[in-house]
Amino acid sequence: MVKFNPLLLVALTVTAAIALWGILDTAGLAELARQAVKVQLTSRAWFIMLTASFILFICIVIAISPWGNIKLGADEDVPEFTTVSWMTMLFAAGMGVGLLYYGTAEPLSHYLLIREPEGPRRAAGLSLFVTVFNWGLHAWAIYALTGLVIAYFSFRLGCATLVSAPIVKVFGSTALTRTVGWLSDLLAIVAIAIGIGGSVAIGVFQIREGVDALFGLQNSGLAVTLTIFAALCLSFTLPLLVDLGRGMALLSNTAMGIALALLVFVLLFGPTHFIMGGVVQLIGDYFSGAVQHGFRTFTFMDEVGTNWFQSWTLNYIVWWLAWAPFVGVFIARISRGRTIREFLLGVILAPTLFSLFWFGIFGSIGFYAALNTDLPILDIARDNISGVAFFVLQQFPVPALTILLVVISAFLFVVTSVVSAAFVLGMFSTSGDLDPPVGVKVMWGGILGALGLVMILSDSISAARSLIALGALPFIFVVLLLAVCLLKALKLERPAKG
């Protein structure tokens, strides 16, 4: 029996109302989101960039300070997972379906815009750099800080696994702190719900393109899209009804295993020297320019430049914020027993290095096709961004097999993300219950599906991204408040010995 507390009721009402509005008036909601996000991103661009750089700075300071020796848990706790398995789970949780979707497509999209002013050869390197910046240290610092706050307050100070718990713990339980905490939980729930809804839409677009490529279809209609969506909904409802335990981790690891196999396949069967050259150059470009780029606001650019900056880098940072409470809870749960230093360095550096290889390899293969062949890859990147990954795979041996594997992997990434998100949403909306009722999880699964459907009906990735940004923007204030809570609590820790 589901007990409706006020937070659950309000959170369900708000997210269901957004979903219903979107289904009844998809174009209207998408346009409203686009305009609202445009105003917010224009006025807050400097603050968003400064916040991302500040969060990275805080993470580095905490990691190298004596606080880095503090255990996330009791001093005698030991990590539950081996370091390799811990890192694999980190990649799968934080990147998921976006990796497959944007691997080649994103660098080429940047390239289309900057090849004129920069020249094609220099633009290729810059495009790879901007892509990895969007998926690198700054992104993972947002996840790391949110996860660290949740892990520290839950495992070290014994609080409930809620966004509001650190606020009430640090500032005391008063009417004001409880209200702020309640609002923070609500904002986290809305950000997660809309963020995962966007992920469902991206997954469906990706799978549809894969089905088109497999069966030689040309822009299959809404019927195919909705069939894929229905199959996804059925697939994630079962694990919500029946606890599959470690089965979910197995599905997630399978999706990540397929992605890694594709990475090695493309590296070995593609122009390996060109790809490795691109990767090595990218490593140098990234580590020498990431800090400076974190403060770049493109204020003096023309409208085309600022639009590009808003729709990519700023949108990504807001996207990471949307996913932060969800991924934060997940990485906190798998990190008990690690020191703060291990946690921060592992969560920030390992996925960034992985992103360098991932985008270096898939991006370089795209640039090889664009710069050294007559293949129409740039036209595809401009006209149908969802189809780029499959176009690349069609140029390699056994395309039917690799495309099928991408479709399976995207399917598994979406299913595992929705199941985990429904669990986290259930936990947040039932005062931190570590085993939320099945009814609550299924309700959240339904809401996530409905939000995904809204973004699918908009039939536009940019509309989906505007909606995600709209849901996540207020959460930037919550993350900063959580950072203050963490710093105040850490001040009271006696310096731990290494």
Binding site: F171, G172, L480, L487, K488, L492
Partner: protein, 47 residues
């Protein structure tokens, strides 16, 4: 871009940053609790 709207959004940001700095610098409930617990431990030891 509506200048007034832009100004209001940015005032909101400045106010929030000011609030964070104030919250960070003032003694918190957790610090008071921790101080009280420390004093209690000292008293117990003296006893």
């Amino acid at each position: 871009m509506n200048e007034l709207h832009d100004t209001l959004i940015n005032i909101q940001i400045f106010a929030f940053v000011g609030l964070l700095i104030w919250l960070y610098s003032r003694p918190s409930h957790l610090e008071k609790t921790s101080r009280d617990e420390g004093a209690e431990v000292l008293r117990d030891r003296e006893d």
